[in-house]
Symmetry: C2
Subunit: 246 residues, 2 copies
């Protein structure tokens, strides 16, 4: 296996670190593959490891104690899963599961917390990402309150698209329904609309983004805030160089 270095690290958050800070982290980082559906951190369970995805997408799903649930955010190679452990939070209310399989750099939560106590730059970077993640959550709250399923679907596809290579997203209507907290048949109708307008192409178990620009326009204001926030306070968000537009 290639030795991990700042140059070959594909997690955008870690890439923001300066050499000395990175060197403190490096010996504790381990590359681990996660398959589709794998749970990375369970809800209300001690956080053992913190995860920095290099590829793939992790979904954050909140389930209330009466069983209703919704996706409240997604994290890809631009961020970190379980970052709150850096300031001593030992469990999370939501669970984090791989929605698109990929590779993550992991580190013991305890070690990360110690490092954050000693290295203010690492602490600050994670704090800022947690802030972006919170921004994503509040925009999700806004979207759930005020936007139609079609607009929310478009938003979700864009957020996914930001975090993968290429234009094809593998998922079923059923899964999308769970993510958006709507019936599967409602998703079917919404995808038909988007496909009818030529914005996406839908195949069995796969959706292809065709016209990203128009998709973005269709979301109204439901997409973009956390992406802009990321670029402002952390760094480049989409590797392709194509910045998220508000």
């Amino acid at each position: 296996m290639l030795k991990l270095s700042l140059e070959n690290c594909r997690n955008l958050l870690i890439s923001q670190l300066k050499e000395p800070d990175f060197e403190v982290l490096r010996p504790h980082l381990e590359r681990i593959d996660r398959a589709r559906g794998d749970t990375v951190i369970s809800a209300s369970t001690h956080i053992e490891h913190v995860w920095f995805p290099e590829s793939g997408i992790c979904s954050l799903v909140l389930t209330s104690n009466d069983g209703r649930s919704a996706e409240i955010g997604i994290v890809g190679r631009e961020g970190v899963v379980g970052g709150a452990a850096a300031f001593g939070v030992d469990t999370l209310p939501h669970s984090s599961l791989m929605q698109v399989p990929g590779t993550c750099l992991t580190i013991s939560a305890e070690i990360l917390r110690d490092i954050c106590d000693r290295r203010p730059e690492v602490n600050r970077l994670i704090s800022r990402f947690q802030h972006v993640l919170a921004t994503q959550a509040i925009q999700t709250a806004l979207a759930n309150a005020n936007y139609t399923v079609e607009e929310r679907l478009a938003r979700w596809l864009l957020m996914c698209h930001d975090r993968i290579d290429g234009n094809e997203i593998e998922l079923t209507h059923d899964f999308l329904g769970t993510m958006l907290s709507v019936r599967r048949s409602t998703v079917t109708l919404a995808t038909h609309h988007l496909e009818g307008a030529g914005l996406i192409r839908a195949q069995r178990g796969r959706i292809t983004i065709v016209q990203r620009e128009k998709l973005q326009r269709l979301t109204g204001g439901a997409y973009g805030m956390p992406e802009v926030e990321y670029e402002r306070i952390i760094g480049p968000f989409r590797q392709s160089g194509q910045a998220a537009r508000c």
Copy 2:
């Protein structure tokens, strides 16, 4: 004016500090009254001051660039408004406005950031509160996706009740509609239901909490997570000594 001390400080977050940390903050804190409707921090505007409420309630409202808006959180004397400034975030996507008038301790955002760089305990406390606030946001997202207006209204009343003295909340149906992102008439119907069940008493411009326990049961799982999280990672939440129950 009484000299500010750890003993007479009514902000629960600051009360968590140890004497030396508090003494670093003290000379920079100023008590300011805010009236109903006052904006404390505007959206996308440089954060000048950070606010620690001692009484009153501050609403966090997010508005998308196409004009739709929703309340995504509230902060009272248990927390801080603009705490993200502590890790160098210079603007917020949402605006923060006083929903119930009250007094706040304010500090220059810049000075707070410097203090957080030097005092890890202060930094950690604020980071943890930001985590609780994020938890509130994700529960709002879940509530907006999966709960009825009646359940969300009950949740909102409980959250308000947690942050005031007494059982009376002054507000209009119109205002509630804005907060919950529903029509005013929908609020009227929902309050009738709650009043019919004897859980609240509604008067012109005022709602009185009558049966808190039942109200809590009615919310299903929409209420409670951030409150439990606060008690777990920060400290006592409701002064009355009556802990939030999940």
